[in-house]
Symmetry: C2
Subunit: 166 residues, 2 copies
């Protein structure tokens, strides 16, 4: 999937880097699901990515500077994948994608509650989330607000509500 540069248009260049069916899914899982290992990304994926595709995307995203990989001290084969500053700055883009998808596609309630919160929260919430991701992935100081916890709590609340026998 190496590409000769087609044009210097920012939208085109973004598509050349991220315009396929899996790259943003992988980033989404790292970002919102906090999956950091190959196996977590492989088996806990809603969409069921194949292992060769996952390996390929992790390699390409790392080459392009959107992810970084370091060894896991607890296991010689494990690697820990982290977001980088460029991929953390995809938060507003993913928030807009979630907002659009929520309006114009047939989403499930459980999986779209986070998108709803993120849309309602607006740029302030996105910035807070990015600060939190910098702490989780880049070792920056941990901010007070945990958007991650807010999103997770809302998600679990919806799951619990829908599991209610009635």
């Amino acid at each position: 999937m190496d590409i000769v540069q087609r044009s210097g248009c920012p939208i085109n260049l973004t598509l050349e880097m991220l315009g396929d069916r899996w790259s943003l899914i992988v980033i989404r899982d790292l970002m919102f699901g906090n999956r950091r290992h190959f196996r977590e990304l492989l088996s806990q994926s809603e969409e069921g990515i194949a292992s060769n595709i996952l390996a390929d995307r992790l390699r390409r995203l790392t080459e392009n500077g959107l992810l970084s990989r370091r060894d896991d001290p607890s296991h010689k084969q494990k690697g820990i994948y982290s977001l980088t500053e460029p991929s953390i700055q995809l938060v507003p883009l993913l928030a807009q994608m979630g907002a659009w998808g929520r309006r114009h596609t047939r989403v499930s309630e459980e999986l779209s509650i986070r998108a709803e919160l993120l849309e309602d929260g607006g740029p302030d919430m996105w910035a807070a989330f990015m600060d939190e991701l910098r702490a989780l992935h880049l070792g920056a100081p941990v901010p007070e607000r945990s958007v991650f916890a807010e999103l997770q709590a809302a998600y679990l609340a919806v799951v619990a509500k829908n599991a209610e026998p009635r």
Copy 2:
């Protein structure tokens, strides 16, 4: 490229509809370049889309409700493609894509000036642009402000500046 729905996640569903290398390029050209016919999209494309791919994407985008097609009264074979409300609502997404690409890829000055303006203009400018697109593509009343003209003027100014002999 028909897809069995992989999951109800809004980001995934948006990717299933738009996550390929050409769909958003076509929408970009309709939106920012005001290309309305097959030939205009084919030959004035910066990236050089192939005609079979263009035909396929126009068909798929129309099937998915992101474009509409009507006959051109001036030519029995010509069709006029228009954006629809769902694709007009992609403006904030494309603005974010442009903003990200401008920061993290090697864009050309000429092709990124519009992204810069759109980023600086923020949600107010996006809303004005969407109103203008509703006038151009859906027959809504023409708004006072023409973001399209602002973008075009800025683009032409950069082209002129860079063409200056010095």
